[in-house]
Subunit: 422 residues, 4 copies
């Protein structure tokens, strides 16, 4: 579960509640009932499901448990919209979420309004530890906002019509970033992990703990699409020696030849995004790559991925609200890297694969009860990603934030920054 150390002021919490909830609605606004219903793969969920599930979280852990007299909108929704909380009883099978043509998107919006009304009314009377659950629920909903966007993109990408959901402004052509510069990192003992001083952090971000950093440097910017095309053209996807063994098996089995959503035509590479199919912008950070691809690129380039501690230590002095996040113009943004003497693009644009497995920080204990299922049980087989993306709501991410995916997954806005030993 998340931890909120001080009771957020009530006004702030209500304001924040309204803002977060409204953003979900805004993101879903261009969707039809059908768009919001279909599940494109087992890893993804329908938009309607995200909208309802985020409400189920408030209804279950706040309204049901702490607001006497609350009447559930529909008692059957618990079965439908629980995600994976085993302690909350049986639930609709994950790969069958796309079968739920009923309730409709309109019904789900009514469900959200019902929960909103009850919650906003009850908020001022809630005890601080319950307000902390509301704050957790808001952070949870923000996570689902990002997933909802990437899931919709995946769904629409499977439609031969390749519809555009949004118009993207016609960006001025961005200059191709210059060569990588290397920014030396701290060495020796550092402190990383959630320090318990912010308003909120997920349980897996802590505890604060010491880590050793060996002499190393990080690239001052992300790897671009242009650099990725160099990798492709140099046979990067065809030469087994660059690849982890599992990665090579994945490349062979799936016939992988480029990042997700890329296609080659006579003019060159194009990519699909929520603004439709467009030419690949060589100046923008590469995205929709798996850990296997990121690792193979790093091997090909003669470098490696950063460790989580290296990345986190380097990010401690950078404002986590900086960078190109969900309210930004393009996803991700093509941008000339500044001078090269400082780290850029650390927050926003793309989640950066680290070379660190997603395992507990020293001293980590999962919370008891249903909300304790939040993070700890996913700690096998996945890798940590840092820094948020252009689909992460601004204010949601921070240096200690740990995102995690399996090494083959790439429908999130995932990218890479190189590191090297000194």
């Amino acid at each position: 579960m998340g931890k909120s150390r001080t009771a957020p002021s009530q006004i702030d919490l209500i304001t924040r509640y309204r803002e977060v909830r409204a953003l979900s609605e805004a993101l879903a606004a261009p969707l039809s009932d059908a768009d919001a219903t279909v599940q494109s793969m087992a890893d993804a969920s329908p938009a309607k499901w995200h909208l309802a599930h985020a409400s189920w979280f408030f209804e279950t852990f706040v309204l049901r448990d702490h607001v006497p007299g609350y009447t559930p909108f529909d008692a059957r929704y618990t079965f439908l919209f629980n995600s994976y909380y085993e302690a909350e009883g049986p639930r609709h099978a994950r790969p069958m979420r796309g079968m739920l043509t009923r309730p409709s998107l309109k019904d789900v919006r009514a469900y959200r309004a019902h929960v909103d009304k009850a919650l906003v009314t009850a908020l001022p009377m809630l005890k601080p530890e319950v307000q902390a659950l509301v704050l957790l629920g808001l952070n949870h909903e923000q996570q689902h906002q990002e997933l909802m966007l990437t899931d919709i993109q995946h769904l629409l990408s499977l439609n031969p019509l390749e519809p555009a959901l949004f118009d993207a402004p016609n960006a001025l052509p961005a200059p191709i970033p210059g060569p990588l510069h290397w920014i030396e990192g701290r060495q020796g003992l550092v402190e990383v992990g959630d320090d318990g001083k912010g308003d909120f952090a997920f349980d897996c971000e802590g505890p604060r703990h010491k880590a050793v950093l060996h002499p190393h440097a990080l690239a001052h910017r992300l790897i671009t699409n242009g650099e990725w095309i160099d990798f492709i053209e140099d046979g990067g996807y065809a030469r087994t020696s660059h690849w982890l063994s599992d990665g090579w098996a994945w490349v062979q089995a799936e016939g992988i030849e480029a990042p997700l959503y890329w296609k080659r035509n006579e003019q060159g590479w194009t990519r699909y995004g929520l603004d439709g199919r467009k030419p690949v912008n060589r100046a923008a950070p590469v995205t929709h790559i798996s850990l296997y691809e990121a690792d193979a690129y790093a091997h090909w380039a003669g470098f490696r991925l950063p460790t989580e501690a290296e990345w986190e230590s380097a990010a401690l002095n950078i404002a986590p609200t900086s960078g190109n996040q969900l309210d930004g113009a393009a996803c991700p943004r093509a941008r000339a890297a500044e001078g090269g003497s400082v780290l850029t693009q650390m927050f926003g644009d793309v989640w950066e694969w680290t070379g660190s497995a997603y395992r507990p920080h020293p001293g980590f204990r999962a919370a008891e009860g249903a909300v304790g299922e939040y993070n700890g049980k996913f700690m096998s087989g996945q890798f940590v990603l840092k820094g948020g993306s252009c689909a992460t709501p601004r204010g949601h991410v921070r240096a200690s934030y740990r995102n995690f995916f399996y090494p083959h997954q790439r429908w999130q806005f995932t990218g890479l920054r190189l590191a090297k030993d000194l």
Copy 2:
């Protein structure tokens, strides 16, 4: 392809065109955009897809090929809504039909209206052989009407809310049918297969040919749910000796214990239908059973399934428009079997599994060209079913009609009538 031997009168064809097209719309009327979009399994298609594909057939084989100046509604729809006509070029992969959240149901209705307008305008000028294609298209659309209903039922059955699409009238309790009577069939040489005298038949129904019938009798009525419960309670699903080897493997692998859509609760067996979940009616014909189940039941009962020729020969004197078909009240209908001296329930209610593999009649040759892909290429691994069901549009079925499904499939309204050697 189908064959229409005499040019149907123009007035009739326009009327018939309007009626068939209107029935599709009526059947889809209770569906939301989401209901009409989702594909519940690879065997099924979204309702929207059925509606569009039936129009694509007219647009392609009639309007495009024979109506100069016709402007396609949307050139991209050819790729989306071709089913399996290899000669018509590449097409959207069948298991991905459910990803098409766009075009919307509303768009598809506009597509239908566009085709209707063009076709009704052109009809009077079409040459007889093109009018025959229109008649084929109408029969094709009727097939898709039945599939659309059974596909929707399958989809909604996967929703834990088990929504009812229609209200079924509360039938008077039907008396349990009495014991089976046996109606002796013709012996020796008979003629079966399409005789070329009706307005229309699919290519696979002919040619007319001689067949030998050995001494046999058919049960005067269908097997009921009550009799099926006897089979279950006698361990029918647990005793391997009743089953075809492939059937037993299917029972074991899928954990089959009852017809599709059945569940047992404290009060007994219930079944899901488009009118929601209801108690199983012991008087009604059993339905949603596979060939494997039908065959195992017959073995358990000491009898066998009819051959196609036995069934067809017996049906030659029965009006194919009789029985409980798509315009009937309940699906299938519980009905006391009359006296027992004549065959009843031959048309309508449920498709009757025969013991005959779906192979070409002697002398069959598939038509050339794209419409020739219609039936011949499916002639391996499937069994013939006869007689139509409560979801078959009245007027669509006849004695020579050959429906065909794989022996494990059971989401259609499939049932059985026993036969025996004399």
Copy 3:
């Protein structure tokens, strides 16, 4: 089960028993313990398993049931070597037969000797109906002899060393057969199926029954490798219009481009056989093709496959012991077709795919009890093959004999003869 209508004379039965059993040993003689142990696919069984299972049949249905005081060789073998007789209790899972490194081939030979000794001793005292079971067991063992050979060939084909088990004599180059001639078949009512007059037939071969033949002709010889290469070179495997729908799916999924065991090198096509890898002989009948391939070839050539009744009726006057069978020189044999005025190659060389599904003959009833599981339960999804092959023991096959395989299977010596409507 099989039926032997007259008690075979004891002397003959003992002689025949010894001969059949000795042939199994002779066929297995070149095998190492390892060769005889490995299972190359779920459809195949280890040679050791065939040798033991054929003995288990005698031990179970003859010695255990009818010879008081018989002591089983090893009580645990029942579990290991029962094939699919559900009535005989649980058994080792079929796909795990290749895990049985113990008992060794030597142990299995000792098991066979133990059974032989007991059976030869008991034979003179056995009642006629039990002697009939012995005859059934011998026919059963002959079936396994053919399977053993084809299973070994499949196994060794997966070894990159492509070992030769036998030396094949260097045949004189055979002249390429001339064009196909068509031999008109009987028309109207014919009698086919086992007539109960021979010493033995399997249950599924009967009963004798009437069938109608429509005007047709059969090709006077089998299709050759040379003709098959023409099919390949004309794009036969690449043009969907020739294929059954299931067949095309199989071709695509498995990447099929030629008969099993064929490879192309610079000199042309080669094939693997128990005599190693050799050039494809254009004069020899094509073999190791699936029903899908046979049907596609027939479609490409403008003809069709014979029905079972057509083939059987034509074969009634041909000696079933003729042709190139298991004791012949090459498998299959390249042979100039004689004149063209008579049917040739009907027995032996290759099993001929028919267009008939393997379903019961009219009036068929499976025998009661365990041996009744013999054939009836396989009557779905398979096609009938007729005439035996170069791996069928001479004396085993006859006109009414029904072999059956799934339409994708092709590791048997399967080939085709064309038919056409007149």
Copy 4:
């Protein structure tokens, strides 16, 4: 690749070569040709393959590359017996290793003798860096000795006869170990990883590097079968809250209820081993458990798994040649834990799952060339195990040694030791 820092003296290397090679032969001595040929699952290899592959390593990287005039035993073996060295060209597919009934076990022994003769002759003339390759080859062969044993055990376990390969001496009943004691570990900065001072280490063991240890303690002994039965009886396998999410999915999909090779009968739990099926010894360490099971046990017990650095730091002062290793009496050994003031059972008995993902140590770079494929490419998705087992050749393991398997794998002798935070 491995590193040998000082050229081992020639006498020693020859002696060691002879000893290691002889041990492989001795371990394989009880196997039949069939035992040595069959592959029981994709994760395992046939014994014959292990024996040949270990020789291929010497033949390829030493004899072919560094001994002029060496004549390969059989040029085709390179294709058959390369494991995964992509740089060495194409090779027989791993899941098809069990199809190689030829060459025979006898042939493989001749291959080994051929390589031995050439290598022992050449050894004195080899340059130090080539002698280092020989030492690498010996360590490589030792790894395959352990795999060969566990692979044989897996194969024989699938035989319903459950054959015993060895007789195990009837051990005196061992007293049940007393309660766990906790041994506090070092805190703060420690040095772990290969220090480059031993004769040999695999590349992934280094470089030596600093790690931070947080306050913790390790259990003084391994978890026993008796304690594991307590876990089972307390519903350990049925309660999802103890399990990693991937682990719970594995438990459900595979129906896991106990360690591999365990079965319950009326007398209680039994386990299969190379000495046959025997009652589970409550005093012995539990083995054949997956990381998922080890982690679930630790969660159930209220503790956690050690990290690799915690384990390695604690093992630095313990002789790696101590404990019950491959030359010991039983596998693993039931043994009363001594007093409790020191760590016991650290080396030998069972590989201890750590909570550390198998990722590169800081500063790790894989060697160039084919031998560089040795370890680095497996660094995703696996966990580190430490300490060796009762099937590890004595002298092969050390504190820095990193074994690695996927979290679901358990056919090795895998077990667990608990750790806790202080």
